[in-house]
């Protein structure tokens, strides 16, 4: 079944690439739509640039910092909100605002307060926080009350409740939160860089590719973003699952 799914997906990707190649061929305007082959060549050639690794490291470290802040803040507030209704009610207006306001508006507003170099950290944080908060709050609410009764009867200290009850019961919610929010942090963080133009960042490279009509580079940088996001998301989910296996062997 897995092989069959893989074949379906592989064929779908091949067809999409074929459609892209055909569209590029018929428009015959690489400045508007470069072909997939040109983009793949560009993907490798941008890596030869002096600033490539610096840009990747700058962007990656900013977004990962925003992600981690958002993840831990979201998780802590979710647990507090699960325990104390007042926290849930007090956070509600912030959550609604973050969810409803377009990310571009946040970027422009935040530019007034935050240095350009740190903007992508803040925007990534802002995108991750409500997703992690909502997922973990849902996970917290779904904890089997019978398990909590076990903790109460046997007088388990909090750290044992956390390891034996909270972590296992919230596993799918934590994985889902990480998986969903990392992609969003990555996209919104780069969008923030594109507007704020911090030095030596992927957002800056995208911006200059756009204003100089270097479409192949623009597409190639986009491909770089997709690859990093995909690889890191898989690594992160894998690391979480490994960490769980470690905890379960306690």
């Amino acid at each position: 079944m897995k092989l069959k799914n893989f074949i379906y997906k592989f064929v779908a990707v091949l067809l999409a690439l074929f459609a892209w190649q055909a569209a590029a061929h018929f428009t015959n305007l690489p400045i508007l739509l470069p072909s997939p082959i040109e983009v793949i060549e560009g993907f490798f050639s941008v890596q030869e640039g002096q600033m490539f690794y610096l840009a990747v490291i700058t962007t990656f470290s900013n977004i990962i910092r925003g992600f981690l802040w958002g993840f831990f803040a979201g998780a802590i507030f979710a647990v507090l909100a699960g325990r104390f209704r007042i926290i849930r009610e007090l956070l509600w207006p912030y959550m609604i605002t973050i969810k409803s306001v377009p990310v571009a508006s946040f970027i422009i507003i935040a530019l007034l307060w935050i240095p350009t170099d740190d903007l992508s950290i803040f925007i990534s944080f802002l995108m991750v926080f409500p997703i992690v908060y909502n997922n973990i709050l849902e996970g917290y609410k779904s904890i089997d009350p019978k398990k909590l009764e076990v903790a109460k009867v046997f007088n388990l200290p909090f750290y044992k409740q956390f390891v034996y009850i909270f972590l296992p019961e919230m596993k799918p919610f934590i994985i889902s939160a990480c998986s969903t929010s990392f992609g969003l942090a990555w996209k919104s963080g780069v969008a923030a860089e594109f507007i704020a133009l911090p030095l030596n960042s992927i957002g800056e490279s995208l911006y200059y590719s756009k204003i100089y009509f270097e479409s192949v580079d623009l597409f190639a940088w986009t491909l770089v973003l997709i690859v990093i996001s995909f690889v890191f998301e898989k690594l992160m989910v894998g690391a979480i699952k490994l960490a769980y296996m470690g905890v379960e062997k306690l």
Partner: protein, 196 residues
């Protein structure tokens, strides 16, 4: 001297009386077996003893520290049998006896996640967990349910030996289980009244 006391306890759910003015006591170091037909309020009594339910009226007096075998095992499924038992041992207390209790109950592979054990094995882990701590009283809700008949007697004998001289309330449907445990039997009728 009494350890657990129920005085005129009434409990109802959705307007339906499950227990009406129920009074009984369990003496220190006594084992009481509560028996009766399904729905007569046996598990309600245990939940009242454990404080998970509050009575509508009447007075309940119980000591502080309980140890329980729940009707549904309520184990930490992703963790090993040994972890499940050790988890409830208070910090800085000796855990070496946990493996011995599990072995005595026929659990050989202590590191296997509980979710991979059979229903009968899970039941033994639940029993081991309850027996592993020193408590003021023990509550066993149908503790031998799901055990195969061949080895049930061995488990009953082990539980009886471990809980000798402790205060225990056990719910069971099987009179022979109560007799093998040497427990005083409290028989309830369908309405939750004590028959004997």
């Amino acid at each position: 001297m009494s350890c657990i006391v129920f005085e005129n306890v009434t409990k109802s759910f959705d307007g339906k009386n499950v227990l009406s003015s129920l009074s009984f006591e369990v003496k220190q170091r006594e084992m009481l077996a509560i028996m009766g037909p399904s729905g007569c309020g046996k598990t309600t009594i245990l939940n009242l003893i454990l404080g998970s339910l509050k009575p509508d009226s009447g007075k309940i007096s119980v000591p502080k520290k309980a140890s329980v075998v729940f009707q549904e095992d309520r184990l930490f499924e992703e963790f090993s049998a040994l972890s499940n038992v050790e988890a409830i041992i208070p910090p800085r207390q000796d855990k070496e006896h946990c493996a011995a209790i599990l072995n005595a109950l026929g659990i050989e592979d202590l590191k296997k996640p509980v979710r991979k054990l059979s229903g009968g094995m899970k039941r033994r882990v639940a029993i081991a967990r309850a027996l592993a701590i020193e408590a003021d009283f023990y509550v066993l809700d149908e503790p031998f349910k799901g055990l195969d008949e061949d080895t049930k007697d061995e488990v009953i004998a082990f539980v009886k030996e471990r809980l000798e001289g402790k205060t225990v309330v056990v719910v069971t449907h099987q009179k022979d289980e109560a007799e093998k445990l040497n427990a005083r039997i409290m028989l309830l009728d369908k309405l939750g009244n004590i028959i004997e």
